[in-house]
Symmetry: C2
Subunit: 245 residues, 2 copies
């Protein structure tokens, strides 16, 4: 048996999410089917993050085991050939230790949330960002967001269906920066609660609009109540960037 | 009568091109229909560049005349509402002088050609760039391309169906730069021949692959023969950036 780590890019639009489900196509099933097409093996693919429906990945880490070893460039190219035309691509493949696990070995995860802040509807960024037609102050968003850094009870920023054992997480970094009409929010933590990044984005929008102050954001965090934070931003703006090990 | 200048973004994928044609939807017809939907007027929209099927625009300049004046923000928003769901958006609208013409008044045009240079097929950039899976040397492409700057007979870089009166054009700027896996070629000139930018991109790829030298590129230019240059790069990598007046 050889374990492989893949780095995978996908467009989440047509998928029910990373995880295999009965109600539609998943990225996991697409990759497992490509492996079967390539070598006939039935494998289970594990990802560093189980993204929701509509959420994209620029560099998802995935592990899977093959009974017969394959040359890594061949594996990458063959999986890409079998994945076609699904919007999933294997960027790289490498052999890793047998006890390395994409999910359980990860020591950090980074996400990007993209907003396009302009009056006109999205065209070339349609499905690739959250369209925010009202003016946002990205500097104010960044400054206020710093109250969230560190170890906190993030109950206010957690979906009601979240199955994590504890709402306490450590947010290592949250950066908001504008480049023209694009506002990028990047976040880093060991792990995140369900919908945490999207609720952070939806809440920081309120700061960007001038409706909320830094103190309001701190109060929302301290409330430990999902109703105290802002709305959940839509999935099409969210990208899994990378896992660190 | 009031003349308006619009700045328009569009995804060229579903269109036969800018210009109205019998064989499918055009950007021009979409905009003219939106104007009719907004105010009932039948107008002709003129663009700075008549892009081909599949070619995108980030900032196409368009002029059109309305019998009854409209507030420019209202015009922009109303056209966007009527354009939905077509992948066309009006970024801005302004009133201009009656003798201002998007095409004939333009003193410069800029295009971007995007290549994604990586082994894995495109996913999030699908339809937004030319996938080039073999390694390209962007610095060599930039250096060689400088032989094309200035006033030349560009017959070698002109589609056979080009209807321009003369093949002599002045290329003001051609820059090739890599940012990660993206190679961006930007070009500026008063005007271009039919397919000139795509033939430049297709030919510079040969330089990037190491198949052609700077001297080969100069020889292709001097040959004044379309067969002496490289292939025409696909439309999905090409973007009309802006016109200057």
């Amino acid at each position: 048996m050889t374990r492989y780590k893949l780095i995978v890019e996908y467009d989440g639009a047509g998928f029910v999410g990373w995880q295999r489900q009965d109600n539609g196509p998943s990225v996991q099933a697409a990759i497992e089917a490509a492996v079967h097409g390539f070598c006939g093996e039935r494998v289970t693919a594990h990802a560093a993050g189980r993204t929701d429906a509509g959420v994209h990945a620029l560099g998802m880490a995935v592990t899977l085991d093959l009974t017969r070893a394959a040359e890594t460039d061949t594996l990458r190219d063959a999986l890409n050939a079998h994945l076609r035309p699904a919007p999933v691509a294997v960027l790289s493949a490498e052999a890793v230790a047998d006890d390395f696990h994409a999910r359980f070995s990860a020591t950090g995860r980074a996400y990007l949330y993209r907003m396009v802040n302009r009056r006109a509807p999205l065209v070339l960024d349609r499905g690739r960002a959250w369209w925010v037609p009202v003016p946002l102050d990205a500097e104010a968003m960044h400054a206020a967001a710093q109250v969230l850094i560190g170890k906190h009870d993030f109950t206010s920023f957690r979906a009601s269906e979240c199955q994590a054992k504890t709402p306490v997480k450590t947010l290592d970094d949250l950066t908001v920066a504008r480049d023209g009409e694009v506002i990028a929010m990047t976040v880093r933590a060991r792990s995140f609660l369900h919908n945490q990044v999207r609720i952070l984005a939806g809440t920081l929008r309120l700061v960007g609009e001038g409706k909320w102050t830094r103190a309001d954001l701190a109060a929302a965090l301290n409330a430990r109540d999902r109703a105290a934070a802002g709305p959940t931003a839509p999935p099409e703006g969210l990208y899994f960037l990378r896992a660190t090990y």
